[in-house]
């Protein structure tokens, strides 16, 4: 029987938090004799030729209590913080930006540090996961800097015997779906909070705040601005510095399967002091080239937009409620990600081909489909939505039960007939965002957000944004069989239209497609 989710750790959790809070207060008390934050040297070495550089340096003497939401995002301040973030990113090479600081420790290291990683730990809440591990682990441990990196949960512990005890828990704990949870241990460096000098605790906190500001600013941008070809011309944004920093940001986000990432798992460095000499680090990431190729086709899915916001109590911001930072696509697992991406690739290949009859193979006999649209002020080219208006199923506005029934397409023939009558399209798969939000043995629910272009008719060249929600059951040929399909359309804003990437990506489609059934092969246009 598995533990109820969200079970608290009890005393140890509170003790850690209390200690962190005390440390915060101590820092504030003794460092608040406003020594200027040691960012001066960073900014001067990375000043953009903006003309505002000198002014920007002067801004950062803020006290520790940083309240990003209270500050109106003036251009100057935003630019400056962007620059600092740029520097931070470059300094860290391949590492993603600083995540939540769970415990602020004094700078002296008390022992050797080990990085503990739970693959796909992103599925689990922190409390639940740590509680589960602690219950199974023979020794008490304090997790330091718990955070999520891509799909994994990770934290540090300070002691080789603790690390060893944690390693022993691997494979002996299960989640609520009865899947084994693995734990990987690496004698990998020192958590960042411990590494720093105590007087740069302030730098730490301002950096955290900087990350928050950056996350805020990112939210202001179109979500799908194209990082791959981002330059100042394309992103029409007054804050020039942002485009450059975004570019840097993108470069420094490691791809999921990059060799750099995999190297981390390859074993103990020679000469590293470690009590346990057995190969604790094993490569768990699959080396399959198929996966790499798929991920190249969907580069957007690799970008995480920001990091988890630190808990308010731990950063001296108790009073503030905050929005979590927005993140990129979410998939339940690597396997499901591949499944969904392959499905989408095939689906839109047919959808954009000019003959949608091939989609008959993708739908269940009794599938449902409906379309809804929304007009937002500020959308360009609203007129292109008019043609969808008659099929718009918005039951908030539509009370007539007969019409409500009519507008819901039922059976795959009706659905495909309807889809075939829609204008020919070109979808930009490189810019999609996917949320896989429910899965059981029998069904998968996921939503796809993206843009497409109409490539025929009066509105040729117009760009629309969509959110398409699929509910699918396992189909034949390890594919998916759609039972519910809801397509929501809206206009794309002017800004988005400008930065959409619509070049056809020359990818070897054939290497990804699983074998079509006989019926499907006949349907696909040659």
């Amino acid at each position: 029987t598995s533990l109820p989710s969200g079970h608290t750790m009890g005393h140890s959790d509170q003790a850690v938090q209390r200690r962190a809070r005390c440390w915060d207060m101590y820092q504030r008390r003794f460092s608040s004799v406003s020594q200027p934050v040691n960012l001066g040297m960073h900014s001067s070495s990375h000043q953009q030729q903006d003309g505002d550089a000198a002014m920007q340096g002067a801004h950062v003497e803020s006290p520790v209590r940083y309240t990003p939401y209270a500050i109106s995002p003036s251009h100057r301040r935003g630019s400056f913080l962007k620059q600092d973030q740029t520097h931070v990113n470059m300094e860290r090479e391949q590492k993603p930006p600083e995540r939540r600081v769970e415990v602020n420790r004094p700078h002296e290291t008390l022992g050797s540090w080990f990085k503990i990683t739970i693959p796909f730990g992103i599925k689990y809440s922190e409390k639940w996961l740590l509680n589960l591990i602690q219950n199974k682990c023979s020794v008490f441990f304090i997790p330091v800097e718990f955070h999520y990196e891509k799909m994994n949960a990770t934290f540090f512990v300070e002691n080789a015997s603790i690390a060893s005890a944690l390693k022993n828990v691997s494979g002996k704990i299960w989640d609520e779906d009865n899947e084994k949870i693995s734990i990987f241990v690496c004698p990998d460096g020192i958590p960042d909070s411990v590494q720093r000098e105590p007087k740069s605790e302030k730098v730490e906190q301002v950096k955290l705040a900087v990350n928050q500001q950056q996350a805020l600013d990112i939210q202001k941008l179109p979500v799908y601005s194209d990082f791959m070809t981002c330059d100042t011309k394309m992103v029409r944004n007054p804050r020039k510095g942002m485009a450059a920093s975004l570019h840097v940001h993108e470069e420094n986000i490691p791809k999921v399967m990059s060799s750099g990432e995999m190297d981390k798992w390859k074993g103990i460095e020679p000469g590293e002091k470690c009590m346990d000499r057995s190969p604790v680090c094993t490569t768990f990431l699959d080396n399959s080239s198929n996966i790499n190729s798929i991920l190249e086709l969907f580069p957007k899915l690799l970008c995480l937009d920001g990091q988890q916001s630190p808990g308010p109590t731990l950063c001296g911001l108790e009073a503030h409620k905050r929005l979590p930072t927005c993140k990129g696509s979410f998939f339940g697992s690597e396997m499901l990600k591949n499944l969904v991406l392959q499905f989408l690739q095939q689906y839109y290949l047919i959808y954009d081909s000019g003959d949608r009859q091939g989609l008959l193979g993708a739908y269940h006999d009794e599938a449902c489909f409906s379309l809804s649209i929304s007009f937002n002020p500020g959308d360009s080219a609203l007129s292109i939505l008019f043609k969808y208006f008659k099929d718009n199923r918005n039951i908030k506005m539509l009370q007539d039960p007969y019409l409500r029934g009519q507008l819901l397409k039922h059976t795959k023939c009706d659905i495909v007939d309807f889809l075939s009558a829609l204008p020919k399209t070109q979808h930009d798969l490189s810019s999609i965002l996917v949320d896989m939000w429910y899965q059981t043995k029998w069904m998968l629910c996921f939503s796809v957000n993206g843009v497409f272009k109409e490539v025929e008719g009066q509105s040729q060249g117009s760009v629309l944004a969509f959110t398409r929600t699929f509910i699918a059951t396992p189909g034949s040929n390890s594919s998916l069989c759609i039972v519910n399909d809801e397509l929501f359309l809206r206009g794309a804003s002017h800004q988005r239209t400008q930065s959409a990437l619509f070049t056809l990506v020359p990818t070897p489609f054939s290497s990804f497609m699983p074998a079509f059934s006989q019926e499907q092969q006949q349907m696909v246009p040659s």
Partner: protein, 198 residues
């Protein structure tokens, strides 16, 4: 200590009283235009039983009935959900199953405790729903557990933040009692659509 704990225990007390009052009131309540005072459950009438004349007829009648039921559940749900979210945030998780998950702009929140914590730390909100669509989910996917897909869109303003356009999906599952059907959220997916605002 933890803010939401003390609230939760009070909420428990509140819930007891409200539930008691609700069950006394429900005998008179229909889904019609009758003014409802605050409720924290999404409830629809049980489906009427049809006598099938032929198998073909039965199929089409049943499907239409499921479509109607889905619409009714979705409307009721959306009214209650967003009002609760805006005005009685503490009570929001009562609309969720114990093991429900939320994916909020890519952040995963799983289980009632985590959901309570999440909604507690989310700033106060003002939602405006402009679009609502729904479909009955095919039984093959749900193993005959009656489920409705709800899709909404609109705008939201969180305190301290600018207004965002959003899209949200829910899976609602039905739990039938002798007198009615109670709907709870099995899964919830929420996303800002940032490009809509400049």
């Amino acid at each position: 200590m933890r803010k939401f704990r003390s609230n939760w225990s009070q909420g428990d007390r509140e819930r007891y009283h409200e539930r008691r009052d609700y069950y006394q009131e429900k005998a008179h309540t229909t889904h019609s235009s009758r003014v409802r005072w605050t409720r924290e459950e999404v409830v629809t009438p049980l489906l009427p039983k049809h006598a099938a004349t032929s198998s073909l007829m039965a199929t089409s009648v049943d499907f239409k009935t499921y479509v109607d039921q889905a619409c009714r559940a979705a409307e009721e749900f959306v009214n209650i959900y967003y009002e609760t979210m805006d005005k009685r945030r503490r009570a929001l998780t009562r609309l969720y199953l114990d093991k429900a998950t939320l994916i909020w702009n890519g952040n995963v929140v799983s289980g009632l405790d985590a959901l309570n914590n999440f909604f507690d730390t989310l700033p106060s909100s003002e939602f405006q729903v402009n679009m609502l669509d729904c479909q009955p989910v095919h039984e093959q996917a749900t193993q005959s557990q009656t489920t409705v897909l709800v899709v909404t869109s609109g705008t939201v303003k969180f305190d301290g933040n600018k207004q965002h356009y959003f899209n949200q999906n829910f899976l609602l599952t039905a739990q039938s009692t002798p007198n009615n059907t109670v709907w709870k959220i099995a899964s919830d997916c929420f996303r800002f659509q940032d490009w809509a605002s400049s």
